[in-house]
């Protein structure tokens, strides 16, 4: 069976969607991701959709589902790299992805996750906690 690879980086899971997914593959990714979040106790999920030229209501719903399910499992999700034409089309279609955090690129997305959950990348809890405290001021 076909799967989209899920990479683990510290307490984060990274997914880069690089193929035009058929609906079943999208559902498989949703199931795989929720299973992995719970298996490894992930605190953050970053989904890179910069290679996607089309996000229709099905894929949009999958992204919203992943964000909601991960929240219930105590993990934050950030969707990064949405192409401007895709954003325009999604909103016109009637989906503004409420509840889904987004960032322009992977770097900004990682920073957002890091701020939200603390010591994801560096693994140094004290520094990350300090950073979070100072950025809150």
């Amino acid at each position: 069976m076909e799967h989209i690879p899920i990479l683990r980086m510290g307490r984060c899971l990274l997914v880069t969607i690089q193929v035009d997914m058929h609906d079943r593959l999208a559902m498989t990714l949703q199931d795989d991701l929720t299973a992995r979040i719970s298996d490894v106790g992930a605190k953050g999920v970053l989904i890179d959709i910069s290679a996607l030229e089309v996000v229709d209501s099905f894929i949009g719903r999958m992204l919203a589902n992943i964000a909601n399910m991960s929240r219930v499992l105590d993990a934050e999700t950030v969707v990064v790299g949405m192409q401007p034409a895709v954003a325009i089309t999604l909103v016109e279609l009637g989906m503004s992805l409420p509840g889904v955090r987004t960032a322009l690129d992977v770097e900004k997305g990682m920073r957002l996750l890091n701020a939200a959950i603390g010591d994801v990348i560096s693994g140094s809890g004290h520094e990350a906690a300090g950073e979070r405290a100072s950025s809150a001021e």
């Binding site: 035009d20 229709d56 279609l93």
Partner: protein, 127 residues
Amino acid sequence: MSVATGPDIVITRQMVRTWAVDAGFGLVDQTKIITAASELARNTVEYGGGGTLQIELLEDGRRRGLRLTFADQGPGIANVEQAMRDGYSTGSGLGLGLSGSRRLMNEFSITSELGRGTRVVATRWKP
């Protein structure tokens, strides 16, 4: 082309992209047309039990357009007006397929007969 299975929805997107690029549509318009095609193809597969897509390049002297015609011989839609409303769905979806794809295209018409099937014609003109 035949639109009968999940993978056919992906092929529909690829075919419509090729046509939209050839017709000279810009990136945003291409994306809108492909997304509308994806929604309508999914309706054809899920609710129509499979059907066909016809793609036409239109030229009326002044402007160019792309017309998509999805037709199925499925159960038909009992209340088209209701089906066109945002958020209305008899299936598991969000109910954005018909209403959303109408917003993404310039012209949109739907005819349906119970027990006979549904036909959706959607056109986008190049600005």
